[in-house]
């Protein structure tokens, strides 16, 4: 018989930890007024919020990827001074209270923000728009995306890139024909994790983009609004979000952060 690798107490503690996560979610399922579920989910306000959520979260993911991919490449493939500081700053939104992120976005990109006038001159007005909601969601999901991409890049053998370069490939050729194709599964995983974070965004969104049905009211905002007056209906909406998030995470099949 194989000897146990871990003391038994670790498994007991781990089980308690899993219960800590699972119990509240199971409670949602138990407490949900299932007899009303179809009625609640078929409300036009729910469909509207779902559509806004999908648009905003996909837009946010695209924006975060456009900004995050170059950051991840620079952080993992070059040694420039202040790299640790850059990484710290980029990861900051991960630990920042989202409401603070929203206020920061207003101070920077809002109508009276420091580059608000410049944006206005370009005809861009972000607060109270779906674009603003996407910017808020991108701001908070960017760190997760960078982390996931960096983890992926560290798994790509740099000797393959070196080989391509030494055979005369340009850096662009090596990046687009060697690094990125090897990165493909990690990119997919990073996109899903960023999208899931964007989908759940609440604090920065309500602060920066406000709450208007059909424009900036995403599912989490709709849940919060309904929760004020009808907790039972909010449970059903919450489960819809849980279901979408579960699908997203299962689609990763454990690819994120677990590298074996």
């Amino acid at each position: 018989m194989k000897r146990a690798r871990l003391p038994g107490i670790v498994f007991v503690a781990a089980a308690a930890g899993v219960a800590f996560v699972v119990l509240p979610l199971v409670a949602l399922v138990i407490r949900a007024p299932w007899s009303n579920a179809l009625h609640e989910l078929s409300k036009s306000s729910v469909r509207t919020a779902l559509i806004v959520s999908l648009e905003v979260s996909l837009g946010a993911t695209a924006l975060a990827f456009a900004l995050g991919m170059p950051i991840a490449l620079a952080l993992s493939r070059s040694a420039f001074p202040g790299r640790a500081i850059v990484r710290g700053v980029v990861l900051l939104p991960l630990v920042l209270p989202p409401v603070v992120a929203g206020v920061a976005l207003l101070s920077g990109l809002g109508r009276s923000g420091i580059i608000g006038d410049a944006l206005h001159a370009l005809g861009v007005s972000l607060p109270f728009t779906a674009g603003g909601a996407a910017v808020a969601a991108a701001f908070v999901s960017l760190p997760l995306l960078v982390l996931a991409l960096e983890a992926g890049l560290s798994g790509v053998d740099t000797r393959l890139e070196d080989a391509a370069l030494s055979l005369g490939a340009s850096p662009w050729f090596a990046l687009s024909r060697v690094t990125l194709p090897l990165m493909r599964p990690h990119i997919a995983a990073a996109l899903v994790i960023a999208w899931a974070r964007a989908l759940g965004e609440f604090g920065a969104t309500i602060t920066f983009a406000g709450n208007l049905r059909g424009r900036t009211q995403t599912l989490p905002l709709a849940v919060f609004e309904v929760l004020q007056t009808d907790p039972a209906a909010a449970t059903i909406l919450s489960l819809l979000l849980v279901a979408v998030s579960l699908i997203a995470l299962f689609s990763l099949r454990g690819r994120f952060l677990v590298q074996r």
Binding site: V103, R111, S112, F128, G210, R213, T216, T229, P231
Partner: protein, 244 residues
């Protein structure tokens, strides 16, 4: 290990050793400034009682209380949400302790040149109100109806509490908001301008207060008495109207 446990239980004893009776007060967001002042004054005259506040939109507070939140006192910005708590948890000693009026608030620079309610309905004006269900949001819509204007198309955000409306105007992100007259407190008066709404178009918001449930303590009743008595001076000084 044993020493740890001993130290830990000492710590617990020290924490629980306070002999203060705690009174948990759930109060409408618009009551934040007066109730904090009243709470401090009350604790000074009642050193044996500690007041713990939970400020928020009255609809959300009522829902929390009906879900079992341990509130001893509820102070609502509308009769509607006091009725909701009365219907489910039961209330005692219910009385109106203040009234308030609605007002237009604009950033100090008044970017959309708002002077009256009809300006709020002008095309292109960005208006922020509280969400429906939130007292300030329901009152705002009543005011629009009374003034015969339709501003719904101008609304860019339905905030979860009246403080959210003030915040958006404070940051000058919206052109106009509908809040209470008392919301332009000393803290924000530099950056937010108040435009009065004439009586004919205005409404008087009643603030009821009550003990929640049937087990509320003597101390909680004392706090309500204090709000009805000495607390009135504070409320008046911050612009709240007398109960009747």
């Amino acid at each position: 290990m044993k020493r740890c446990i001993a130290a830990f239980s000492l710590l617990l004893a020290a924490c629980g050793g306070s002999s203060k009776t705690e009174v948990v007060v759930f109060a409408a967001a618009s009551l934040t400034e007066p109730f904090q002042a009243i709470g401090t004054a009350f604790e000074r005259t009642h050193p044996e009682i500690g007041i713990r506040f939970n400020f928020g939109p009255s609809d959300g507070l009522a829902t929390q209380i009906n879900d079992g939140a341990p509130a001893a006192v509820f102070a609502s910005a509308s009769e509607r949400w006091m009725d909701a708590v009365a219907g489910k948890r039961g209330v005692r000693q219910r009385e109106v302790f203040a009234r308030n009026r609605l007002a237009i608030i604009v950033p100090a620079s008044n970017p959309a040149h708002i002077a009256s309610l009809s300006d709020v309905a002008r095309t292109g004006v960005k208006v922020v109100v509280a969400a429906r269900g939130v007292p300030a949001g329901d009152y705002a819509r009543q005011v629009f109806a009374k003034a015969g204007i339709s501003a719904e198309a101008n609304i860019v955000s339905n905030e979860e509490s009246v403080k959210g409306v003030v915040q958006k105007i404070l940051l000058a992100e919206a052109d106009a908001g509908i809040a209470y007259e008392t919301d332009v407190s000393a803290a924000v008066s530099q950056r937010v301008r108040l435009i009065h709404i004439p009586d004919a178009e205005n409404i008087a918001a009643s603030y009821p207060i009550a003990l929640v449930g049937s087990h509320a303590s003597r101390s909680a009743a004392d706090f309500i008495e204090y709000v009805m008595g000495e607390g009135q001076t504070v409320l008046r000084s911050l612009g709240f109207l007398p109960p009747s």
